[in-house]
């Protein structure tokens, strides 16, 4: 690493290439667009997160957006980052923001997990399909969100939070899911994340 610094200092650094993703953001009209500007620092323009850790919220189902915001704001889904922002969203108008993000065309994550991990994840995904469906698209009636094309790092982290009972710790409706997650080895959690992130 120290060598890298020396090399860079002595030459013209062209720097890092950023991939533009703003075309998806669209014009800043509608009541939610301006309010959603606070979200793009982490979730990307239009909710199209470019990173491995922040979820894509473009095209999110409105019921799931609202549940997430209410859970964060109420402290039921503990997050030092999202609790304040969820309170901002409620203050600004959760329906406006839900409508804005729902209206954004979702592009799947640019992260490309290892093909072998995807295949292992596919083989291990049968039990997940009961709630999330064969396609991973989720089911509002069961309260299960669409997992397709989310960043693998985000999916893996959420599964680990479920497994450790750190996501919605007191939520009775998630008991069965958490019991299931406890039976899944950590490396298989990575495979499942790879698989669902690869779905379109």
């Amino acid at each position: 690493m120290r060598t890298t610094i020396r090399l860079v200092a002595g030459s013209l650094s062209l720097g890092v290439v950023l991939v533009a993703g703003v075309a998806a953001a669209g014009p800043l009209d509608g009541p939610g667009a301006a309010k959603a500007l606070a979200c793009s620092a982490c979730h990307g323009p239009g909710g199209q997160s470019p990173s491995n850790t922040m979820p894509i919220i473009a095209g999110i189902a409105p019921w799931y957006f609202k549940k997430a915001i209410e859970d964060y704001a109420g402290g039921r889904r503990p997050s030092p980052e999202m609790e304040p922002y969820a309170k901002y969203v409620i203050q600004a108008g959760v329906d406006d923001l839900a409508a804005y993000f729902t209206g954004q065309a979702r592009q799947p994550t640019a992260m490309r997990p290892d093909a072998a991990a995807i295949e292992r994840g596919r083989a291990a995904s049968k039990q997940c399909a009961i709630c999330h469906g064969e396609s991973g698209r989720g089911d509002a009636a069961k309260g299960s969100p669409d997992l397709r094309g989310q960043p693998p790092g985000y999916l893996r982290h959420q599964m680990l939070l479920f497994k450790a009972d750190r996501r919605n710790p007191a939520d009775e409706t998630l008991k069965a899911l958490k019991a299931l997650m406890k039976t899944v080895p950590d490396d298989q959690i990575g495979d499942l994340a790879a698989y669902y992130s690869s779905l379109r």
Binding site: M1, R2, T4, I5, R6, V8, A9, S13, L14, G15, V16, V17, L18, V19, A20, G21, V22, A23, A25, P27, L28, A34, K35, L37, A38, S40, A41, C42, H43, G44, P45, S49, P50, S51, N52, T53, M54, P80, E81, E83, P84, Y85, K87, Y88, Q91, A92, G153, H157
Partner: protein, 424 residues
């Protein structure tokens, strides 16, 4: 989706024909000079001074909000170097090139980027002077960042590159990393923290962590002395103090304002008259708004910072001139990159609404701020705000309960997203 190649980057970064070349030459202080109205205004135009976190964001978002408005960005530097994460260059955890970006993304939004410095603002005629020439604007967004108050520390102005601040990421960051690397084991590294207000409140303490981590792992007989002008750690105090338990090589002295530096004797002097010897010094000077803001009379009675309307970011002193980023004061927000980015977006939307004769939406910024406490763990503070009675008011502040690799992963994700939000 567009991806800039090296060739495209070079083509669009000031080596092209016409004004870009003139402007680039103007930076170096040599002919050909810019003269007269060097880019006559055809339609409505927003000029942005400063292509950092606030200005670059504002330039892009004016174009996104209304593509019929021309945007001209004046930024002397050919490249954007991120201050957030630059403390990791000192510890060798990241390279400076991983924090360095071109302005090609802004050009793809038809932002006209001139690598030139604005030399004066003429609010009455709505002109910005650049060298011997000028540009006309309908609205001006000024995002000049901070300037150092060299005169506040005796000997600092004369010391020049012998005493580094490394508080504007770039050349000095790399120089300081080299000094740290070259310091003999057993040496003393002195880091000084300026009195508030200054850019990035937790920044000096994150830097202390990175330097202490580097010394602990590479030069275990060495010591870091932090001389803080403030009475306590300014930001995330409990979390930083918890992190410092891993660094017995770190000596923190509160209420120790450095008033003098002498590179010939390698010594700093505090306002109590205490002298501290150093092998390497990193003196972060006291700060004020960028020079153009002071010259243009955008600063308040303190002669340091710019007061603005909390909804439009229009200067309280000059009409049609907006100020965003670290040079502002009066909002209950920290001088952070995330806040500058948020101000840039809100101001851009406000300016577009004003130019279109529409009511400006009331939007509050948000603050997400991560600090790395070693090579793999971070802490964070997050602030949410609302607008109440035309003023920014804090809704809530949350801190991470402890340091962990989890927050560091989030920090990486945040950086990737926000750099794109600013520049891509």
């Amino acid at each position: 989706m567009t991806r800039l190649t090296r060739r495209e980057f070079l083509r669009t970064s000031g080596t092209g024909a016409g004004l870009g070349l003139l402007a680039a030459a103007g930076v170096a202080g040599c002919a050909p000079a810019i003269k007269g109205d060097f880019a006559p205004k055809a339609g409505r135009r927003v000029v942005v001074i400063g292509g950092g976190w606030g200005g670059a964001t504002a330039a892009k978002y004016v174009r996104l909000a209304d593509p019929s408005i021309e945007v001209v960005l004046l930024e002397p530097n050919q490249q954007f170097v991120s201050c957030p994460f630059s403390n990791l260059v000192l510890s060798g955890v990241r390279s400076i090139d991983s924090l360095t970006f071109g302005y090609g993304g802004l050009r793809s939004h038809d932002v006209k980027v001139y690598h030139a410095a604005a030399s004066a603002i003429e609010p009455d005629t709505r002109r910005v002077r650049v060298g011997e020439g000028y540009l006309e604007y309908d609205r001006l967004i000024v995002s000049p960042g901070v300037e150092f108050q060299w005169e506040q520390v005796d000997g600092l102005a004369e010391a020049q590159d012998r005493v580094l601040h490394a508080w504007k990421a770039g050349r000095q960051t790399v120089q300081l990393a080299r000094q740290l690397e070259a310091m003999p084991d057993g040496g003393v590294f002195v880091l000084t923290v300026p009195p508030v207000a200054y850019r990035c409140p937790p920044g000096p303490y994150e830097r202390a962590c990175q330097v202490a981590w580097y010394l602990k792992t590479r030069k275990p007989k060495s010591k870091l002395v932090v001389l803080d002008a403030n009475q306590n750690v300014v930001s995330k105090a409990a979390l930083f103090r918890a992190a410092w338990k891993d660094y017995p090589n770190l000596e923190y002295r509160a209420s120790n304002k450095v008033v003098k530096v002498d590179p010939s004797t390698r010594e700093v002097t505090t306002d109590f008259g205490d002298r501290v010897k150093y092998d390497v010094v990193n003196l972060i000077p006291p700060q004020r708004a960028g020079t153009i803001a002071v010259q243009a009379d955008l600063v308040g009675a303190d002669k340091r910072w710019c007061e603005v309307d909390h909804v439009t970011y229009e200067s309280v002193k000059h009409k049609n001139v907006h100020v965003v980023g670290d040079s502002t004061i009066g909002l209950p927000v920290p001088k952070s990159g995330n806040i500058a980015n948020a101000m840039g977006k809100i101001c851009a939307v406000a300016v577009v609404h004003l130019l279109n004769g529409k009511e400006v939406p009331s939007m509050a910024p948000g603050n997400t701020c991560y600090s790395w406490v070693n090579d793999r763990e971070a802490i964070a503070v997050v602030n949410a705000y609302k607008i109440e009675g035309g003023k920014v008011v804090q809704i809530e502040q949350k801190l991470t309960p402890s340091q962990s690799a989890e927050w560091a992963q989030h920090a990486d994700g945040w950086a990737r997203s926000i750099w794109q939000d600013i520049l891509a």
